[in-house]
Symmetry: C2
Subunit: 474 residues, 2 copies
């Protein structure tokens, strides 16, 4: 247990002084609202002592300086759409809610970049780019609510990662308030650089443990005028899982290769009151999206893709309009409708190892008495197995069951060269598992960096790595 000081009336007064009284909330309503993020299991809930709503980088600097002065923990938060308990203030203290910093400061269509404050909603940025014929390629399923700073902090993945990479690959530069209250401009609007350490990639994905991102400069791409979504229908998982590598090797350069198993299709179709082909035959879907700049190129890739799919066991291929993405993206809402405590696994394995891990899932389901549905970004090996609490276990019972499942699952993932998170992060939820599965030298390096950059351990403590024992305060 880390030793932090409680938030005192004196600190609250100082916070009000460096911002305005309206930006500092200690009402119980606020504290309850900020006791969780997207997490639905009350086991994890933990209330802050104060929630602050800064409106500028300068205010964030002042907050961080006060947190150091009073030795009080900070939990940075934007939309709170994370699913790893990354924005839950596990040691209480101050939640820094960044949603008011929500302006797109600049969008330069000729040079294809945008400068966003951290609280810009991902979907707003996507739409603003589209208005200029451009694409912002970060595309988590939560795009309509998630915010760009949180996307970067968690290195959110999403649905265009096969072609464009994850959120970290969209980043030119970041403005970061360090744990000691300095402002670092990490990276730059450059296509390449060998000037100093690659700090922007260190901050991206660090889950708010190394600083608070207040501004993000992102890359934009030309929007391809020709896009098709092809659904390839499979009777068996194994055939579906063999397809991605073949698509990639053929030079089709797909934007996305997504998988939904039959149970996920049935659940989501029911939730959306949608009827889709082959779902009642027990089939799985592989959804492939391809963007092109030319109609013939698009047609050719479609033909090549259908040939590949047929030669690899697809029983049908049909072109879908973009509503297929509603089906894919609404899947989490459908799961929540069944069970608000649903757990999203997020492990990632090399593409050739997908069958090796997925074939172990039925055994694990049986062993732990879990009902699971599966969707996956199979173009990048990222598998979302979702255990649903259909039996109505208590929060504590469900927590214990999932912990036992993880203890069994993750070593299997790592044995195949995989890792426990492809896009959701470690947060507080997988802290123990991360410490157990990560080799000691890597953990030493991570802890050494954390300690060097956050000497008082005030920046999102209890996330990613547990620094207890590495810090002595008082």
């Amino acid at each position: 247990m880390a030793h932090f000081n409680p938030v005192t009336p004196e600190l609250v007064e100082e916070l009000k002084r460096v911002m305005s009284p309206k930006q500092v909330k200690t009402d119980e309503d606020y504290l309850v609202a900020y006791q969780t993020d997207e997490e639905g299991n009350s086991h994890y809930f933990s209330k802050p002592e104060v929630v602050v709503f800064p409106e500028s980088t300068e205010q964030v600097v002042e907050i961080v300086k006060l947190a150091n002065k009073y030795l009080v923990p900070i939990t940075p938060r934007s939309a709170g759409s994370g699913v790893a308990c990354g924005a839950i203030p596990v040691y209480h203290g101050i939640v820094v809610e960044l949603e008011r910093m929500n302006k797109i400061l600049k969008l330069d269509p000729d040079n294809m970049y945008a400068v966003c404050q951290t609280g810009v909603i991902t979907g707003d940025l996507q739409r603003e780019a589209a208005r200029h014929g451009l694409l912002y390629a970060g595309d988590p399923s939560s795009a309509d609510s998630s915010q760009i700073g949180g996307n970067v902090a968690n290195n959110a993945g999403g649905n265009k990662a096969v072609k464009y990479g994850t959120t970290r690959h969209q980043v030119y530069s970041l403005k970061v308030v360090t744990p000691t209250g300095e402002v670092v401009e990490a990276g730059s609007r450059l296509k390449k650089s060998s000037t100093g350490l690659c700090l922007e990639q260190l901050y991206a994905g660090s889950e708010g443990t190394l600083g608070i991102i207040t501004e993000v400069t992102v890359k934009l791409y030309p929007q391809a005028p020709y896009v098709f979504n092809m659904v390839c229908v499979f009777k068996t998982d194994d055939e579906a899982f063999a397809l991605p590598n073949k698509i990639l090797k053929a030079g089709i350069d797909p934007t996305s290769i997504e998988f939904m198993d039959n149970e996920a299709l049935v659940m989501t179709c029911k939730f959306l009151d949608m009827k889709m082909p082959h779902v009642d035959e027990g089939c799985d879907y592989v959804i492939v999206t391809v963007e092109s700049f030319n109609e013939e190129e698009s047609d050719r890739k479609m033909e090549l893709l259908c040939d590949l799919a047929e030669n690899n066991g697809s029983i049908d291929e049909f072109e879908a309009d973009k509503r297929i993405w509603t089906l894919r993206k609404q899947f989490a809402e459908a799961a929540r409708d069944v069970d608000k405590m649903f757990q999203t696994e997020d492990f990632v394995v090399p593409l050739d190892k997908i069958p090796d891990i997925t074939k172990q899932i039925p055994e694990l389901r049986e062993k732990y008495g879990l009902y699971c549905v599966t969707v996956a970004h199979i173009g990048d090996g990222n598998i979302h197995v979702l255990p649903l609490n259909k039996e109505g276990l208590s929060p504590e019972e469900w927590f214990n069951k999932i912990k036992a499942f993880h203890r069994d699952l993750f070593p299997r993932v790592y044995a195949l060269g995989g890792k426990m998170s492809g896009e959701h992060g470690i947060g507080f939820k997988k802290l123990d598992e991360f410490a157990k599965c990560t080799p000691a030298p890597e953990l030493h390096v991570i802890k050494a960096i954390k300690k060097a950059l956050d000497p008082n351990n005030i920046m999102n403590p209890g996330k990613l790595v547990d620094m207890t024992g590495d810090f002595v305060q008082e």
Copy 2:
């Protein structure tokens, strides 16, 4: 000045014991051979006290442990093809020459990756990949001599960066011996990950200051069957420099966009005894390479490119075979033939700022009495202005002239949002300039990380950041 201990006979004996006597060299011939890397100015030369040739990661670990025990500096080196004095042992001590670790341990064509020891020559990896119909996309002009570990350590750029990124983007994972002698596996063979800090990108480009890379797992790509090289001929720089952004926005997705000014063309044609169109008319070249998976796609892109070039002032476009790349890549050799102390500037600016910086070069040439030729990776804003010592100044005079030029040039680059190195690194050569141009908070973070990971400052000291004053030894 850092305080290190001298290499004692006792340490040499210990080094021989953890390797074999043949792997430890103290003969004067060796010490002289390792007093420089690609640097030609004797001002920078500095001899090691011992050169060691490890053959395994385990041996590297033992060497690092001894360096810590005796407080002796280590300079890691592979090909020594760097141009920033990164492999010069400025504090003497031990040079760790990794060239014997030169095996491609695995190349998996189905899953498109290779595992290389650090000393694999870049060109060997490219050729081995090509044998399997695959592409290794790291392509520094020094590919025939440079080695993969050094490419990663410096984040080498090269000629395919517009499409594929620089060397850091080719990296799945790295095996790194840390400055304290632990072995970290940074990264993994995964398409995405949000599991812990992004250490592989921290090590990539850290110029050997945070550890010694002993193994690299790289991504491979399908080799496109259709490739064309188009030379667009321009009478003025400004028109040439406006082209890249337009090519990128049109969705042509070029592999390379290179620039050679007329003086560079004349010099290199003379060196190679080559005759090329429009060179004697004082024209510049923009060389655009485009790869496609389909002939019609290739033809269409060629047409589109020629239209764009013509509409933007190109007076001629002609298709070239791959010998055009000989012209481009042999440019450095041509420069060396004129002046072995030639200086390669390597600054990088946002694409829209290329004209703003290049139009200042004539003024600087005049001011410092420099003769310069220019080649540039203009598709990524990376400009190589090469001052040549045509007057035959002494090493010391030339050093002072270049320092004065840098003091004037780099603030202009930074004022445009640029940085001093796109692909060569800071090394020892630009240490002072880097400290001056980098904002204090960024420098604090870099130094804090260095100090945390290399507590005795033994790992390539005097490169990238000067830790003098941050370390006290005895």
